[in-house]
């Protein structure tokens, strides 16, 4: 991870600018940014740990305990909501037995709500990892849940 983070240094005039890239590197490896990583990142970037924590905590994106093997965001913003996005989120939530923001007991899937994913032409939509689920409907909730589980197994 250190080498991956250091590779960003030449791209920026300050080391502080590597904060977000470093958080992303750690997050991609560990599916979270544990508190223990913060002083280490700070030392690499020659910053106070509080500076890293301040930036990290601003972005609700970075969690301190691991997300599931797949992190899925169901869009709840206006264009998706008009076509059943909130119902889809509720249906998936029921099907997977978790509230938005939680991870399934088997550690496979973290279900979240997303604010406009920019996939309004495919509403209602979901981003799971790098995969886009388009034009979903609550009738397909079993199928979507199964696809998410399969995706989790692939990424495990």
């Amino acid at each position: 991870m250190r080498a991956e983070i250091e590779a960003f240094f030449p791209k920026y005039p300050t080391k502080q600018a590597v904060t977000l890239p470093a958080l992303h590197v750690v997050n991609e490896h560990l599916r979270c940014v544990p508190m223990a990583a913060i002083p280490e990142i700070a030392a690499m970037l020659e910053l106070a740990p509080a500076q890293i924590h301040d930036t990290m905590s601003f972005y609700g994106f970075f969690k301190q305990s691991p997300c599931g093997q797949v992190r899925a965001w169901v869009c709840r913003s206006i264009s998706c909501a008009l076509r059943g996005g909130e119902e889809m989120l509720a249906a998936l939530s029921d099907k997977l037995g978790v509230h938005p923001g939680e991870t399934t007991a088997d550690g496979k899937i973290t279900l979240e709500f997303g604010e406009c994913l920019g996939l309004c032409d495919f509403a209602p939509s979901m981003l799971a990892g790098t995969k886009v689920y388009k034009n979903m409907s609550v009738e397909q909730v079993d199928e979507v849940a199964a696809l998410l589980k399969a995706q989790a197994s692939e990424q495990a």
């Binding site: 300050t14 920019g118 309004c120 509403a123």
Partner: protein
């Protein structure tokens, strides 16, 4: 009317449209070569100024004028930040450009950097666009390999590096100084202006921040000229109005038969966009309202669908502006209370928290709408909401950036344009309490299942 030949979307249906060979086969990078071979940076700025290209990100600021604000003879470095944090609800035109024609975007950026003497450009892409991120990175790699980026591009004295920078799911990073703070590794709190980024931007150096679609227009202006660009669109009507020229990507979503991103000259009406491109309102229903250009811009009623979607049009019917030209249509079954709840929840979630009026105003708006939605609304709430919407934002002078203005507009438009519906809903759902004026108790949202 002759069928409009797409300009910005001319390549997207070609197989492998995102690759360098396909882009070059269609004449790609001719504009970079033309600029490097025979135009000075000032020539390019003047050309773009003459074209009247206005920023496509939402504010519509004239692009060439923005470039001309950079200090002359600055020793450097000068930075360009390309805003690909597209997060305005209902907006996805930049995603289409980045995924399907990333080289067109890069060509515009290269020319923009040449014009502004920027030696480094950062493309700030929102996290939610992984395909755009990968394809732009791959396109950048192809450019380095082909001598279109790096040192002494095409044998000229001009050198440029372009780097991708990933966001982390925060709407506020689309605000240009929030973007700069985020790029620098800090929380994305917008800066007080002045100093404007052109004087003191990224890493305290002169910086120009441009939107993806704006940059995609630049190669075409270089290739075909300012007069060609100005042959499309809606001319300026007074000396203070820079006009609405050139091609535009309009997004249409919500209750239409064919949601999508469609290109046409600036200045189609909302109704024509819905009927001719969006395939009409779905399920044979009537339209009730539409967002004219991203959620922040407010609402058009069905009667206002003939509004021209140029930079000046939406403002004439009380909307905030053209914004991102992303239209979301609501059919006759949509409750304006549900719409406004959705809008307020978005802005409460995305307020960065720096300015108290925005942080508190957006979150109280959401809480009031949640209470109203669950049958505990009071008529007095409408006055409270209008009072909030009139007091948060740059316009009333209470916040640093425009997020709160964007939060205020859906409230103003929804309540002022659909007042009767709000009052009826409140009376109907809260028959015993609608007239109360004493402070309302907060609802336990978790128990209500609102979150």
């Amino acid at each position: 009317m002759a069928e409009f030949e797409p300009i910005l979307l001319a390549n997207i249906h070609k197989p492998d449209s995102h690759t360098l060979p396909v882009y070059q086969a269609g004449g790609g990078y001719a504009a970079v070569k033309k600029v490097l071979a025979g135009m000075s940076p000032v020539d390019v700025v003047e050309l773009v100024k003459a074209s009247s290209l206005r920023g496509r990100g939402g504010a519509g600021f004239p692009c060439g004028l923005k470039w001309s604000f950079l200090p002359k003879d600055h020793p450097g470095p000068i930075y360009m930040c390309v805003n690909a944090d597209e997060s305005e609800p209902a907006t996805f035109n930049n995603r289409i450009l980045m995924e399907l024609d990333p080289h067109q975007v890069l060509e515009g950026i290269i020319i923009g950097c040449y014009a502004t003497r920027a030696s480094t450009a950062y493309i700030y892409v929102r996290y939610e666009y992984p395909t755009a991120y990968q394809r732009l990175q791959r396109a950048i790699d192809e450019c380095y390999a082909a001598g279109l980026l790096g040192k002494n591009i095409q044998g000229s004295p001009f050198s440029l590096d372009i780097y991708m920078h990933r966001g982390a799911a925060a709407y506020i990073c689309g605000e240009e100084t929030g973007l700069i703070e985020s790029l620098e590794g800090k929380r994305a709190w917008p800066r007080i202006k002045p100093p404007f980024p052109a004087i003191e931007g990224a890493f305290r150096k002169p910086t120009v921040v441009n939107n993806i679609e704006t940059m995609a227009n630049v190669p075409h202006i270089v290739n075909r000229g300012a007069d060609w660009f100005k042959s499309m669109g809606i001319p300026s009507t007074n000396p203070k109005d820079p006009g609405s020229y050139g091609p535009k990507l309009y997004c249409i979503s919500g209750h239409v038969n064919k949601p999508g991103c469609y290109e046409m000259p600036m200045g189609i009406t909302c109704r024509e966009l819905i009927d001719r491109y969006g395939g009409g309102v779905w399920k044979g229903r009537q339209g009730k309202a539409a967002i004219p250009g991203g959620l922040s811009m407010g609402l058009l009623t069905e009667k206002e669908f003939d509004t021209l979607l140029d930079f000046a049009g939406p403002g004439k019917v009380g909307c905030l502006g053209l914004g991102t030209a992303a239209v979301t249509v609501m059919d006759e079954t949509v409750s304006m209370i549900d719409f406004l709840h959705n809008a307020c929840r978005f802005f409460a979630h995305e307020s960065c928290g720096q300015c108290t009026p925005c942080r508190e105003g957006t979150s109280w708006s959401e809480r009031i709408l949640t209470r109203m939605k669950h049958g505990k609304g009071r008529l007095k709430d409408l006055e409270i909401l209008l009072s909030i919407s009139g007091s948060i934002g740059i316009m009333p002078g209470t916040t640093i950036c425009g997020l709160a203005d964007g939060a205020a507009w859906p409230i103003k438009n929804a309540i002022n344009k659909f007042r009767e519906e709000f009052e009826d809903y409140i009376r109907r759902t809260n028959p015993t309490g609608y007239a109360q004026e004493d402070p309302a108790e907060a609802l336990q949202l978790v128990e209500l299942g609102a979150h």
